[in-house]
């Protein structure tokens, strides 16, 4: 059960992988408050807990589906904790989301008696749950799935992107991801490497105000032509060439609990440039560069040096390729199988 279900986003992909991991051993139904047509789902209010049911609850923001968490109930409840973005990281015109995030944070300690088991995907998420008083916590990695690696790349994009030297960001274009900081960093790097470009792939419809700020910054720096916005690319054939031909993946996100695009980039041997905020260094695991957000000039110098040093870049590329298999779908399925054997309630077979 999730608040919002969309094909191609982190939770949407994860739910598809969970379905693949547990069927046909379990009968699976997906419940959501909001969703798109790509993945069929039932409305959250249609869920009626029965003995033997396992409710796999994806916790990320307050939603109508919190009504299912009023008490213990006859079912076995799993909290899959994706973290709640701190309200102060939303833009001013996202008051509704801000309020829902605040409610989800407020509700977290009150829910510790409701859940039978908690799943987290990073040490940072685990520390948040421990602070909220949760105890039965299991850490499982998120997988990136095989769809992207197996997709046939769009020929036009592949041909043109392969001719460019560019940095890549993939994710929602929102204040939490500090896109403004990333653009400033790109501007500093570009002064050292004038042919460098930046591609931003992700949904731009969350905050009109933040989009305006981005446009203002691009106009002020005079780099509008060098920054491309590809919008949300749910089709793996379109997304694949962006990852494949990128020189570096960049994210200065202020808050993350896993960051799937870092791992997706890793799968293509693309090193990441990020900051020491929240879980990013842990997920990256030494396959990239840690930059200081407060010293963008120094960070730009580091990145430009890395781009010029082919040997070091190749070394990081090799490390990415070595680390990426630990986030494969098969690996995640094996861990989940272990969780099932150890923690799920025993069911009497007919």
């Amino acid at each position: 059960m999730t608040a919002t279900l969309a094909a191609g986003d982190a939770i949407g992909n994860y739910i598809e992988m969970l379905r693949a991991a547990f069927s046909p051993r379990h009968e699976i139904a997906i419940f959501a408050d909001l969703g798109t047509r790509e993945i069929p789902f039932l409305p959250s209010y249609a869920y009626v807990a029965r003995p033997g049911d396992i409710l796999w609850f994806h916790y990320s923001i307050y939603s109508e589906n919190f009504a299912c968490l009023r008490g213990r109930g006859p079912d076995f409840k799993i909290l899959d904790f994706h973290g709640v973005c701190p309200p102060e990281l939303y833009a001013e015109d996202e008051q509704d989301l801000k309020r829902l995030a605040a409610r989800a944070i407020e509700a977290l300690p009150q829910m510790r008696e409701v859940f039978d088991l908690c799943l987290v995907h990073s040490d940072y998420s685990e520390s948040v749950l421990r602070r909220a008083g949760y105890e039965r916590i299991v850490k499982t990695p998120l997988a990136i799935g095989n769809a992207l690696a197996e997709a046939k790349e769009q020929p036009f994009l592949a041909e043109h992107l392969s001719r460019l030297e560019y940095l890549l960001f993939v994710g929602r274009v929102v204040a939490q991801k500090d896109i403004l900081g990333m653009i400033e960093l790109f501007d500093q790097i570009r002064r050292r490497r004038p042919e460098l470009k930046l591609w931003i792939v992700g949904n731009r419809q969350a905050s009109v105000q933040y989009q305006g700020q981005i446009q203002e910054l691009l106009a002020r720096l005079g780099i509008k032509r060098h920054v491309g916005f590809a919008g949300r690319l749910a089709n793996p054939s379109l997304l694949k060439p962006f990852f494949k031909y990128a020189r570096l993946f960049v994210t200065l996100s202020k808050w993350e609990t896993f960051c799937v695009p870092v791992v997706e980039a890793m799968g293509f041997g693309v090193p990441t440039v990020t900051t020491e905020r929240t879980c990013l260094p842990e997920i990256m695991g030494g396959t990239g560069l840690l930059a200081d957000r407060d010293n963008l000039d120094g960070a730009a110098e580091q990145v430009a040096t890395l781009l010029a040093d082919e040997k070091r870049h190749e070394d990081l590329r090799r490390r990415c390729i070595e680390r990426a298999p630990s986030f494969r779908e098969e690996q995640m399925a094996a861990v989940l199988r272990d969780v099932e054997d150890r923690h799920f309630p025993r069911q009497d077979k007919p």
Binding site: L164, A219, G228
Partner: protein
Amino acid sequence: MGCVANVMACVGKENRARKASSHRSFEAFVGNEQTVSAQDDSGKSDSDLTMDQLRLFVSLRALGEGGGQDPAALQMVHDDLARLESELAVAGEAPEPFRLDQEDLDNLFLLKVRQSLEPEGKIKYLAPVRWLYSIFRRLFFGTQRRYNESATYLVRRLYSTALRTRYYQLRSLVLERRLKAIEMRLALLESTAGRPTVKPSSPPSESGRED
């Protein structure tokens, strides 16, 4: 019934005001984009041209999938349309100008809203109606918002489809023209292939005679 119609008129007025302000912000945004493009239009490198081609590609895709909600994508396609039109105009094959514009669609959208919300036309805005209006708004605001959202979505889809059709139409015209030019050059080459080639002029020999 008259009261209800009056209430509808108020809702329509509010809608128009909101729509007009969003239209102004779109114009301001596009104006800003154009200024920026004009500022750094000189000195394009190969990578800049590749970047432009890619931006156009993703803009057309965004129009196809997102219904034209991205002003930057719209502007990019508009710019390339203008370029194609001027290329055709220079060649003496200027097509009719593109008549469907954002403003026309705004008007269409407002007309549709007005037709649905003001079936009997405007009636004087009386003080007690304000009270009824506030009740009405509380009761039916969700329905009205959903209607407006779907109307806006449909108009956007219509606009982006028209824009993309126009773009591909002009591009085929330009490609056809180029193909014709290539065919003419080929025909010219074929016709000259049979003729004896002109020998390059050689400098006269020192004796003044041809060897």
